[in-house]
Protein backbone atom coordinates (compact mmCIF):
# COMPACT_ATOMS: atom_id res chain seq x y z
CA UNK A 1 0.00 0.00 0.00
CA UNK A 2 2.74 2.44 1.04
CA UNK A 3 4.77 1.47 -2.03
CA UNK A 4 1.80 2.13 -4.35
CA UNK A 5 1.22 5.60 -2.86
CA UNK A 6 4.92 6.41 -3.24
CA UNK A 7 5.06 5.43 -6.90
CA UNK A 8 1.85 7.32 -7.73
CA UNK A 9 3.23 10.50 -6.12
CA UNK A 10 6.69 10.03 -7.65
CA UNK A 11 5.38 9.47 -11.19
CA UNK A 12 3.05 12.45 -10.76
CA UNK A 13 5.99 14.66 -9.79
CA UNK A 14 8.15 13.39 -12.67
CA UNK A 15 5.41 13.71 -15.30
CA UNK A 16 4.48 17.24 -14.23
CA UNK A 17 8.17 18.23 -14.17
CA UNK A 18 8.57 16.89 -17.73
CA UNK A 19 5.47 18.82 -18.83
CA UNK A 20 6.93 21.94 -17.18
CA UNK A 21 10.13 21.68 -19.20
CA UNK A 22 8.44 20.92 -22.52
CA UNK A 23 5.65 23.55 -22.58
CA UNK A 24 6.31 26.26 -25.17
CA UNK A 25 4.27 28.91 -23.38
CA UNK A 26 5.42 30.20 -19.98
CA UNK A 27 2.17 30.26 -17.99
CA UNK A 28 1.33 26.52 -18.38
CA UNK A 29 4.96 25.85 -17.53
CA UNK A 30 4.62 27.77 -14.24
CA UNK A 31 1.33 26.01 -13.41
CA UNK A 32 2.94 22.61 -14.01
CA UNK A 33 5.77 23.60 -11.65
CA UNK A 34 3.17 24.35 -8.95
CA UNK A 35 1.73 20.85 -9.48
CA UNK A 36 5.25 19.40 -9.14
CA UNK A 37 5.77 21.27 -5.86
CA UNK A 38 2.47 19.93 -4.49
CA UNK A 39 3.46 16.34 -5.40
CA UNK A 40 6.81 16.91 -3.69
CA UNK A 41 5.01 18.15 -0.56
CA UNK A 42 3.00 14.92 -0.58
CA UNK A 43 6.27 12.96 -0.92
CA UNK A 44 7.59 14.81 2.15
CA UNK A 45 4.45 13.66 4.00
CA UNK A 46 5.21 10.02 3.12
CA UNK A 47 8.58 10.65 4.82
CA UNK A 48 6.80 11.97 7.97
CA UNK A 49 8.24 15.47 7.46
CA UNK A 50 4.98 17.35 8.20
CA UNK A 51 6.50 20.77 8.91
CA UNK A 52 8.51 20.88 5.69
CA UNK A 53 5.52 19.65 3.67
CA UNK A 54 3.45 22.60 4.92
CA UNK A 55 6.33 25.03 4.33
CA UNK A 56 6.78 23.61 0.82
CA UNK A 57 3.16 24.37 -0.08
CA UNK A 58 3.16 27.78 1.62
CA UNK A 59 6.54 29.10 0.48
CA UNK A 60 7.20 27.37 -2.85
CA UNK A 61 3.77 26.64 -4.34
CA UNK A 62 2.39 29.77 -2.69
CA UNK A 63 4.76 32.68 -2.36
CA UNK A 64 7.54 32.01 -4.89
CA UNK A 65 5.28 30.82 -7.70
CA UNK A 66 2.87 33.73 -7.18
CA UNK A 67 5.88 36.01 -7.62
CA UNK A 68 6.92 34.15 -10.82
CA UNK A 69 3.40 34.24 -12.30
CA UNK A 70 3.16 37.93 -11.37
CA UNK A 71 6.36 38.71 -13.29
CA UNK A 72 5.18 36.62 -16.27
CA UNK A 73 1.94 38.63 -16.38
CA UNK A 74 3.88 41.89 -16.03
CA UNK A 75 6.17 41.19 -19.00
CA UNK A 76 4.97 40.60 -22.52
CA UNK A 77 6.57 37.25 -23.35
CA UNK A 78 6.18 35.59 -26.69
CA UNK A 79 6.21 31.81 -27.09
CA UNK A 80 9.78 30.65 -27.50
CA UNK A 81 10.93 28.29 -30.18
CA UNK A 82 13.21 25.49 -29.14
CA UNK A 83 13.79 21.97 -30.35
CA UNK A 84 15.68 18.95 -29.09
CA UNK A 85 16.75 17.88 -32.59
CA UNK A 86 18.44 21.08 -33.74
CA UNK A 87 22.21 21.24 -33.89
CA UNK A 88 24.94 18.98 -32.57
CA UNK A 89 25.20 20.95 -29.31
CA UNK A 90 21.70 19.97 -28.19
CA UNK A 91 22.34 16.34 -29.15
CA UNK A 92 25.45 16.28 -26.99
CA UNK A 93 23.47 17.95 -24.18
CA UNK A 94 20.70 15.33 -24.33
CA UNK A 95 23.28 12.53 -24.33
CA UNK A 96 25.02 14.12 -21.34
CA UNK A 97 21.81 14.47 -19.32
CA UNK A 98 20.71 10.90 -20.06
CA UNK A 99 24.21 9.57 -19.36
CA UNK A 100 24.57 11.28 -15.98
CA UNK A 101 21.04 10.20 -15.03
CA UNK A 102 21.77 6.57 -15.97
CA UNK A 103 24.98 6.69 -13.95
CA UNK A 104 23.23 8.09 -10.84
CA UNK A 105 20.43 5.52 -11.04
CA UNK A 106 22.98 2.71 -11.47
CA UNK A 107 24.90 3.88 -8.38
CA UNK A 108 21.70 4.08 -6.29
CA UNK A 109 20.60 0.63 -7.50
CA UNK A 110 23.97 -0.90 -6.59
CA UNK A 111 24.00 0.82 -3.19
CA UNK A 112 20.39 -0.12 -2.38
CA UNK A 113 21.55 -3.22 -0.46
CA UNK A 114 23.45 -1.11 2.05
CA UNK A 115 20.97 1.78 2.32
CA UNK A 116 18.30 1.59 5.05
CA UNK A 117 15.05 -0.08 3.97
CA UNK A 118 12.64 1.73 6.29
CA UNK A 119 12.24 4.98 8.15
CA UNK A 120 14.13 5.48 11.37
CA UNK A 121 12.17 4.70 14.55
CA UNK A 122 12.35 8.37 15.62
CA UNK A 123 11.23 9.67 12.19
CA UNK A 124 7.70 10.58 13.30
CA UNK A 125 8.86 12.93 16.03
CA UNK A 126 11.76 14.38 13.99
CA UNK A 127 9.47 16.02 11.42
CA UNK A 128 7.04 17.80 13.73
CA UNK A 129 6.85 21.58 14.16
CA UNK A 130 7.63 21.14 17.84
CA UNK A 131 10.97 19.35 17.47
CA UNK A 132 12.17 21.43 14.50
CA UNK A 133 11.19 24.66 16.29
CA UNK A 134 13.01 23.50 19.40
CA UNK A 135 16.18 22.88 17.36
CA UNK A 136 15.87 26.15 15.39
CA UNK A 137 15.48 28.36 18.45
CA UNK A 138 18.24 26.71 20.51
CA UNK A 139 21.19 25.19 18.62
CA UNK A 140 20.46 27.03 15.34
CA UNK A 141 19.40 30.40 16.75
CA UNK A 142 22.26 32.31 15.10
CA UNK A 143 21.75 30.91 11.55
CA UNK A 144 18.02 31.52 12.03
CA UNK A 145 18.63 35.22 12.72
CA UNK A 146 21.07 35.35 9.78
CA UNK A 147 18.28 34.00 7.56
CA UNK A 148 16.10 36.97 8.51
CA UNK A 149 18.94 39.36 7.59
CA UNK A 150 19.28 37.61 4.21
CA UNK A 151 15.56 38.06 3.59
CA UNK A 152 15.70 41.77 4.48
CA UNK A 153 18.72 42.26 2.19
CA UNK A 154 16.95 40.41 -0.64
CA UNK A 155 13.79 42.52 -0.23
CA UNK A 156 15.77 45.78 -0.32
CA UNK A 157 17.89 44.52 -3.25
CA UNK A 158 14.81 43.50 -5.23
CA UNK A 159 13.21 46.93 -4.77
CA UNK A 160 16.42 48.73 -5.79
CA UNK A 161 16.94 46.50 -8.86
CA UNK A 162 13.36 46.80 -10.11
CA UNK A 163 13.10 50.55 -9.51
CA UNK A 164 12.52 52.68 -12.57
CA UNK A 165 15.54 54.97 -12.37
CA UNK A 166 18.63 54.72 -10.21
CA UNK A 167 19.21 58.25 -8.96
Amino acid sequence: MNEVVFWILASGAIISALLMVTRKSVVPSALMLIVTFCFLAALYLTLNAQFLAVVQVAVYAGAIMVLVVFVIMLLNIRNERFSLTGNWKTIIGVLGVVGILAQMIAVFMMASEKLPKQLDAKAIELGTVESIGMKLYTSYAFPFEMASIILIAAAVGAIVLAKKKLS
Partner: protein, 100 residues
Protein backbone atom coordinates in the same frame (compact mmCIF):
# COMPACT_ATOMS: atom_id res chain seq x y z
CA UNK B 1 7.89 -0.07 2.91
CA UNK B 2 9.67 2.17 0.38
CA UNK B 3 13.44 2.08 0.65
CA UNK B 4 15.82 5.06 0.61
CA UNK B 5 17.19 4.28 -2.86
CA UNK B 6 13.73 4.80 -4.41
CA UNK B 7 13.60 8.34 -3.04
CA UNK B 8 17.14 8.97 -4.29
CA UNK B 9 16.24 7.77 -7.79
CA UNK B 10 13.15 10.03 -7.97
CA UNK B 11 15.28 12.93 -6.77
CA UNK B 12 17.97 12.22 -9.40
CA UNK B 13 15.35 12.12 -12.17
CA UNK B 14 13.83 15.45 -11.07
CA UNK B 15 17.30 17.02 -10.81
CA UNK B 16 18.28 15.97 -14.32
CA UNK B 17 14.96 17.19 -15.75
CA UNK B 18 15.77 20.56 -14.18
CA UNK B 19 19.34 20.49 -15.50
CA UNK B 20 18.10 19.63 -19.01
CA UNK B 21 15.64 22.52 -18.83
CA UNK B 22 18.43 24.93 -17.88
CA UNK B 23 20.44 23.74 -20.89
CA UNK B 24 17.75 23.67 -23.58
CA UNK B 25 15.26 26.41 -22.77
CA UNK B 26 15.77 29.95 -24.06
CA UNK B 27 13.43 31.89 -21.76
CA UNK B 28 15.09 33.34 -18.64
CA UNK B 29 12.00 32.79 -16.46
CA UNK B 30 11.73 29.12 -17.47
CA UNK B 31 15.43 28.64 -16.71
CA UNK B 32 14.79 30.24 -13.33
CA UNK B 33 11.92 27.80 -12.65
CA UNK B 34 14.15 24.88 -13.67
CA UNK B 35 16.70 26.00 -11.05
CA UNK B 36 13.90 25.98 -8.47
CA UNK B 37 13.08 22.42 -9.53
CA UNK B 38 16.71 21.37 -9.05
CA UNK B 39 16.74 22.93 -5.57
CA UNK B 40 13.61 20.95 -4.72
CA UNK B 41 15.16 17.70 -5.93
CA UNK B 42 18.10 18.27 -3.57
CA UNK B 43 15.66 19.08 -0.75
CA UNK B 44 13.96 15.72 -1.32
CA UNK B 45 17.33 13.96 -1.02
CA UNK B 46 18.15 15.79 2.22
CA UNK B 47 14.77 15.02 3.81
CA UNK B 48 14.93 11.36 2.74
CA UNK B 49 18.40 10.90 4.25
CA UNK B 50 17.34 12.81 7.39
CA UNK B 51 14.29 10.61 8.02
CA UNK B 52 15.89 7.29 7.09
CA UNK B 53 19.00 7.87 9.23
CA UNK B 54 17.15 9.56 12.12
CA UNK B 55 19.16 12.80 12.07
CA UNK B 56 17.27 16.10 12.20
CA UNK B 57 20.02 18.31 10.76
CA UNK B 58 18.97 17.50 7.18
CA UNK B 59 15.55 19.04 7.77
CA UNK B 60 17.06 22.14 9.39
CA UNK B 61 19.26 22.51 6.29
CA UNK B 62 16.20 22.21 4.02
CA UNK B 63 14.57 25.00 6.00
CA UNK B 64 17.53 27.28 5.32
CA UNK B 65 17.65 26.23 1.65
CA UNK B 66 14.01 27.32 1.34
CA UNK B 67 14.86 30.68 2.94
CA UNK B 68 17.71 31.27 0.51
CA UNK B 69 15.50 30.14 -2.40
CA UNK B 70 12.90 32.74 -1.44
CA UNK B 71 15.58 35.46 -1.34
CA UNK B 72 16.98 34.22 -4.66
CA UNK B 73 13.52 34.30 -6.25
CA UNK B 74 12.96 37.93 -5.23
CA UNK B 75 16.36 39.13 -6.47
CA UNK B 76 16.31 36.96 -9.62
CA UNK B 77 12.91 38.19 -10.73
CA UNK B 78 13.93 41.80 -10.07
CA UNK B 79 16.94 41.21 -12.34
CA UNK B 80 14.63 39.75 -15.03
CA UNK B 81 12.41 42.84 -14.82
CA UNK B 82 15.35 45.22 -15.17
CA UNK B 83 16.78 43.18 -18.08
CA UNK B 84 13.40 43.35 -19.82
CA UNK B 85 13.20 47.09 -19.21
CA UNK B 86 16.58 47.63 -20.86
CA UNK B 87 16.50 45.06 -23.68
CA UNK B 88 12.78 44.35 -24.28
CA UNK B 89 13.49 40.62 -24.34
CA UNK B 90 13.97 37.65 -22.01
CA UNK B 91 15.52 35.41 -24.67
CA UNK B 92 18.83 34.11 -23.34
CA UNK B 93 20.38 34.03 -26.85
CA UNK B 94 19.95 37.79 -27.29
CA UNK B 95 21.48 38.62 -23.91
CA UNK B 96 25.07 38.13 -25.07
CA UNK B 97 26.77 41.27 -23.80
CA UNK B 98 29.39 39.26 -21.88
CA UNK B 99 29.91 36.72 -24.66
CA UNK B 100 33.54 36.59 -25.75
Amino acid sequence: MTSLSNYLIVSAILFMIGAGGVMFRKNVIVIFMCIELMLNAVNLTLIAFSQFLGDQQGQILVFFVMTVAAAEAAVGLAIVISIYRNRETVDIDQLNLLKG
